[in-house]
Symmetry: C2
Subunit: 329 residues, 2 copies
């Protein structure tokens, strides 16, 4: 299994030199946006943005556009906007979850409290739409605002379904689509929009993004149950302790009556969560969840075949899909 | 002094029949937007939106545009979008303030908890930008996203300045501008944009909006100290109990050394807040705060003189300014 860094360098190698250049410009732009709005935003939003992460969404914007020089300003703005939305949701999610750490660093909520964290998230949201106007495309505003609405709807669904062990698979998948897949979709759509692709091509690239976003979330949920902690950086079953019912548990409940009888509210310690994860794994539910995710990735890759992409671009998008399928943290 | 309803009907009478028709369409649109996004949003956002308020911002959109039939869809979208942003900030403000009631009804925070309230606010924000794409103008997206960034920056400033009795007047005014005036400005700008006014006219109408928004906030802060509770629906000095230092206290501290020595953290009961309000009033600080607000309104009205407005439109905008100057609740 390749490391995330190795995969990223393969992707960049396949796509061409414009990709690292654009991604560097996106980083510069994000730093500038964080610094340009007073000391409080500079501190809190800056650290959130700097804490970074994989920049999957900006990468998708750039790759979906293909090697179209001359529209760099628009691409960088679209990529920065989608990353700002992602950062905003992380800040608000940490408020909702009461999470003290993210990627090993204290969250805004932990550092500065609920009030500052809510306002910082709001500011990042707003800045995303300001930045988006530099793309010069109402279609881009439409794509991103739809995705942002979906994110919030997904968050509401998740709260509504909390502790409900008997939630249906379809409902779980809808939640994953809203919470994760739609923003991946918007990233691909915006890249395709900047590249002036046709409406149907924009929709197909959006579908690719939605698919790998969905798989990304499914595999994230598998990792939460599978661990090990040494790899994921958190103990197994944090979702279960939060009352978040994910695919492994849903499938495991169908296979094991004892698991179906477990009331999640009685699982209150990391040790109990670990034991439940073990029981889920023994049903084979993790393997089935993973297989479903890989099937979704395979379908997303197939959808690329019908698109008139440049060779390096096609290879790079396929590698992104592979990197999602192979994700281990 | 005229009642708010009487003033509104005067404004509508002056501006012409298109205004009530458009405002009714805005209401319909808001109901539709609240209903169209699943039961959770329908419930929480719906009640927030329905709880209504004065619809000052949609009114400004419509009045700034003037009687331009044929662009109703754009105007309604811009007016609905600005009201959605306003609703979103109310939902988040109630989370930050831990406010159980707004206009006599339980807040989303009180009904459904912090998590649902944060997500509901996020959803209203997102829906505002989706709705805005129907205006078909990137300038409108720019206006509203700038105002929304300002709102969040203002909220951050207010948290930063909490309990700081020695905050400077300029800093207080900046906070009012960010928290309130900029959204009024955006409302006027968007109306003027839909009406295809010139860049300088858009800016001047925006300046009018900013001025009356600033006065609106100053007078809001005066009312919090002045009361009486029977008129405002809340006890005197709620801002002081929250640690929010406003103009009356800033001015009173300059005039009365005993007030300058008060540590706001020691004011913890409604009775103590009431007594502090009484002391502030005795310094004449309320009258001076009010005089400053009225001066700002007068300047905003003067700015209208240079604009080529239709007669009814001019009269109506002047009446809106008067209604702000005369506000009593």
């Amino acid at each position: 299994m390749r490391s995330a860094e190795a995969t990223l360098s393969e992707i960049i190698g396949a796509a061409g030199a414009h990709v690292p250049r654009l991604l560097a410009l996106v980083e510069e732009r994000l730093v500038l946006l964080a610094a340009g709005h007073g000391p409080v935003l500079a501190e809190h939003a800056g650290e959130t943005i700097a804490a970074g992460g994989k920049r999957m969404r900006p990468l998708l914007v750039v790759l979906a556009a293909g090697p179209h020089a001359g529209r760099e300003r628009e691409l960088v703005a679209a990529a920065a906007a989608v990353e700002l939305i992602h950062s905003a949701t992380l800040v608000h999610d940490d408020v909702l979850d009461g999470a003290r750490l993210r990627r090993g660093a204290p969250t805004v909520w932990a550092r500065a409290g609920r009030d500052v964290a809510v306002a910082t998230g709001d500011l990042l949201f707003s800045r995303a739409f300001s930045e988006l106007t530099a793309v010069g495309s109402l279609a881009a505003v439409r794509s991103l605002s739809r995705a942002t609405s979906a994110l919030a709807e997904g968050e509401l669904l998740q709260r509504q379904d909390a502790w409900n062990g008997s939630v249906a698979i379809e409902r779980y998948l809808l939640r994953c689509e809203l919470k994760t897949a739609r923003l991946f979709q918007a990233a691909c759509e915006m890249g395709a929009q900047v590249a002036r692709l046709s409406t149907s091509q924009i929709a197909e690239l959006g579908g690719f993004g939605r698919g790998i976003g969905l798989a990304f979330q499914l595999l994230d949920d598998v990792l939460d149950v599978a661990g090990p902690a040494s790899l994921t950086g958190k103990h197994r079953g944090t979702d279960l302790l939060d009352g978040t019912v994910t695919l492994p548990l849903i499938l495991a409940r169908e296979r094991d009556a004892r698991l179906a009888a477990v009331d999640l509210r009685t699982i209150t310690t990391p040790a109990a969560a670990e034991q439940l994860c073990e029981s889920i794994e023994q049903t084979g539910a993790l393997r089935e969840s993973q297989a479903r995710a890989l099937q979704i990735v395979a379908e997303a890759k197939l959808a690329l075949d019908g698109l008139p992409l440049e060779n390096g671009q096609r290879r790079a998008l396929n590698l992104v899909a592979d990197s999602v399928a192979e994700r281990t943290a």
